[in-house]
Symmetry: C2
Subunit: 420 residues, 2 copies
Amino acid sequence: MKIFIPLIFLANFLFAQENSDSLIIRKIYSYHLTESKSYDNLHSLCKNIGARLSGSKQAEKAVAWAKQAMLQAGADTAYLVPCMVPHWVRGAKEKCYVTGDSKNKLESFAVCALGSSVATPTAGITTKVIEVTSFEELEKLGTEKIKGNIVFYNVSFDKTFIHTGSAYGKAVKYRSGASMAAFAISVTGAKRLNALLAQNKNFELYLYSDCKTLPDEPSYSVVGEIRGNEIPNEVIVVGGHLDSWDLGEGAHDDGAGVVQSIEVINAFKKLGIKNKRTIRAIAFMNEENGTRGGKSYAAMAAKENKKHIAALESDMGGFTPKAIGIEAKKDTLLYYKKWQPLFEPYFVFIKQGYGGTDIGELIPLGVPQFSLEPDSQRYFDIHHTADDTFEKVNERELELGAATITSFIYLLDKYGAYKK
Amino acid sequence: MKIFIPLIFLANFLFAQENSDSLIIRKIYSYHLTESKSYDNLHSLCKNIGARLSGSKQAEKAVAWAKQAMLQAGADTAYLVPCMVPHWVRGAKEKCYVTGDSKNKLESFAVCALGSSVATPTAGITTKVIEVTSFEELEKLGTEKIKGNIVFYNVSFDKTFIHTGSAYGKAVKYRSGASMAAFAISVTGAKRLNALLAQNKNFELYLYSDCKTLPDEPSYSVVGEIRGNEIPNEVIVVGGHLDSWDLGEGAHDDGAGVVQSIEVINAFKKLGIKNKRTIRAIAFMNEENGTRGGKSYAAMAAKENKKHIAALESDMGGFTPKAIGIEAKKDTLLYYKKWQPLFEPYFVFIKQGYGGTDIGELIPLGVPQFSLEPDSQRYFDIHHTADDTFEKVNERELELGAATITSFIYLLDKYGAYKK
């Protein structure tokens, strides 16, 4: 590519002069792309704290970090909402290999224990492998054939989904359901295991894990609040989750959502936008294995003398934003679709979608659900793996996501949520 | 992120059953995401041939490769359109360092000669550095102060542009214009050089390059054609450029555009779509330093007894598609905007935009211009550098781009271009 003439930008700019919302949204995007702290904050969270599984020392450090970051961003107040969280620990490195006649190691596989799963016996498990591609296939085989064996669920993502999250939604049921030790294997490993089984179904596999669940620990979600100037009793929530799995650094999942939410506060303050309603940036605890933070926040909200009018979650990675997803029926959707032209310069759709796991706990209170939908093509290359590190997050992609969230929250605050 | 319920996909699917265009476009996307050869073709072009600067042996190999790939994709015919191309060679590795009192090397910088530039004298150049941030600043300094010195244009991208291509458009004028040897320095290097000059303006820099321009060489653009079944005399062009700079592998720039264009043919053939008009996938030669392929194709088109009704170029990288850009005024744009709902399930906008360098040569013939606009946030991390390699291209992102192009060409073929 040689030269790209910025005709489009000029056109937007001219339009912007005639419309204060588009002008303010342009300022919001410029702020995030040039001055925001989201990328620096993500670096700090990933590199100074790192992985922060619920109940761990790192999660405790992350709580203090988030409160400090909320205050630095200009929150009028920042506070902790307590919850009791599960405390699962992985223990020693897992082992998985094909055994020879004398139980020697013939070929090993990289595996990891699935979160919340139990350990194998201390000596490990050595037994045959039964491969299935669905629960239905497993059921057909019957208990007799399965008993005492390792079940290998070989289920690939459906590549035809545009949202890789939808393909995950279809495949994820195979992640849970085992009452025994449960392991994850890589795509490469699964292909190799499949090939070995095609040659010979009678070899034995050795599996070992040492994970355990300790007693629940006290922990916290972190709230940073800017009070509404006109209708302070109406609350808008924008959040991500602070906890992560223990491998990687929880950068895309979900450091990104946390730093973007904090940056909403910073943008409102730096740009001098006077919010009508109360805005709460929330770093939820324990999304990954219990949603205890989401539950305890919803319990608090139910008792408060305030009305939550909307909640938005960013928990699909820090990639280039593609849409604001709205969990709504057609008439509701039309209300928000009117804002679509404001987002076209930024290539963002307003569309039917989903909320988020943490804010989902607010559904019984009737709180409308929104989410940031970033491009999802690269998400499952790193999701819940040791590769979910700061280096995998692109600065501008992260900032564009924060700008999209801030702009949508600005409109929600100014015009309110849809009322029937 | 935990679970994403595929509600949206189901909604689209139900809509699709009522609408044959949306159903065919859904099939086009599924084809590209599961069966297409674009990623394999890109691997072959990048790893078996690699960098392919105009006039090089690699460019010659790439011409034969492209013709073969067009035929394998199912083109009714594939042929070469000749052109004479510049033949610039980089020569020995460039050198750049701060000299000490005794002309010793104190601190070196990674630089590369800008394409088409001339060599330094054999002994190199050793002189002071004058830093400017614009042509205006250079002009103010006047000839006397500049003469015999190295001019350091320190101009950064404007980060507020959403399209990084627009920021490039504003900064790229500093890439050409030097009648003497011209070098590019990295962002890190530019920051360091700026810091050194802030401390002391009197140090000397040594620069050496050995590049030269040899006589023009004969070369070719490659055309793969599927003849129209109803109006064969109307032609739709879809293309990218086959040549690349000599560093890297020309993966995003523009192997991506070439393999996507070839895959348009493959998709039409594999899905049994009967094209009304003649479709030509074109791998243009010499986009980077002369546009000779674009010019010679336009000259041929002017003499043909055929009418070109549209031309689309993919030359902004193999990233997730964000839009089809249309170089058009408002009334024309409205005609294409009617297709917008068909692209919403894929997060693609139909909008005012740009064509491409190669197809731009068809503008004097009145040929409407279109382009694929992928997400541009990561493009200038790798553009024209040694990092533009196959590994930097994500398979699904590349395929989604090919699917978007194929779908738009399908609509152009079925309904024709806008007529006043």
